[in-house]
Subunit: 218 residues, 2 copies
């Protein structure tokens, strides 16, 4: 359908515009590590194909068609991550790079098989929602750990900004999805938190970390 390259732009646009619904060429350029003039001409091309709405000096917006296409690529990415973890035994910090490649495969049966083998999962190994077959995706309304208070007990539901380093950091501390955390103390001046959980009665997490952990109340 679309080229490998176009798919990567669509994905970047989808992720970057998630909050505001629009992105600047500059952001896309930085995200993909591609120079602005290249982004510019690609946006013209995607606009031709009715995947984005784009006018000079105005922000870029995905069309409905563009959102759908992007959602379907992200679906393939997240299904793949789930497959790599659940069926192949990879760690959650290892799967992103592989999924970046597999997401571009053109083979509906392959992804349908994955989906079926996994029992039609709704989330990926990091707790991010897997878009449905129409490309639509919805985040469950989790709270950030950073917005919780001392005394709260919560369950780790998702991780955002999942770089390999961050995931390894969590691995080292035995922090995984589903883990029940008791918030023991919140440091006012820097927002760091002391939490306790099964394997570790006292762990201090920086504000930056707490901002990246999404939790459910228990």
């Amino acid at each position: 359908m679309h080229s490998y390259t176009e798919e990567n732009y669509l994905k970047a646009l989808f992720n970057l515009s998630a909050e505001k619904g629009e992105v600047s060429p500059n952001e896309v350029s930085k995200q993909l590590g591609i120079k602005m003039p290249t982004v510019n001409s690609m946006m013209k091309k995607l606009a031709e194909k009715k995947l984005v709405i784009y006018e000079s000096y105005k922000p870029i917006r995905l069309t409905e068609k563009g959102k759908k296409e992007a959602g379907l690529i992200i679906r393939k990415h997240r299904l793949t991550e789930m497959f790599l973890v659940q069926q192949m035994g990879f760690g959650w910090e290892e799967v992103h790079e592989i999924a970046e490649q597999i997401e571009h495969l053109q083979s509906p049966v392959f992804f349908e098989k994955m989906d079926a083998l996994l029992g039609y999962p709704k989330i990926d190994p990091h707790g991010s929602p897997i878009p449905d077959k129409t490309g639509k995706m919805e985040w469950i309304k989790y709270e950030k750990l950073s917005s919780c208070k001392a005394g709260d007990t919560v369950k780790l539901a998702a991780v955002i900004h999942t770089t390999d380093d961050f995931l390894k950091f969590l691995n080292q501390r035995g922090l995984q999805l589903g883990l029940k955390l008791k918030i023991k103390r919140v440091e006012k001046f820097d927002g760091s938190m002391e939490v306790g959980y099964t394997k570790n009665p006292s762990e201090v997490l920086s504000h930056t970390v707490c901002e990246r952990l999404l939790v459910e109340r228990v």
Copy 2:
């Protein structure tokens, strides 16, 4: 390392030159569905990279380096086919197309994991040997069914020229690897054979089919 395109040329060269050790540009052109001038310039490029030996109006030969690279791609292809059949439940007629894409992924860990999960298989689902980690591959010396005689009992060991149609033909007749066949009759004038096996006491196979089935004596 090499581009997707280069990899496809290497694979084609490997397969086409398997018997004689050399190929003509014309054969490559037909195999890949690419016009001769394109093949010509790609051969110059691969010669630059020391992957092939090529001089005008002479046949093309892979260098040792070229054979190794090609072998490693075929390794990835066949490991993938095995994975798709054994771990994901695909039929042997469905896997080629998917493997054509996955073989180009750049992720050693991914293929190592596959290999391990499969128990380091030596053959793919069609009985073709999987090259080792150095790209080397050896065919076990099977016999063609067509070279057997009435009264022989053999075991189906591999299938060659495995088009989807042919594999579906075999599926319909319950012919699968490992199956024990008794040769009941060989028709002299057209080389067709009547064979019997568990599910089917009498099946007539054309000479063309018998040429594509490799067997071991039992």
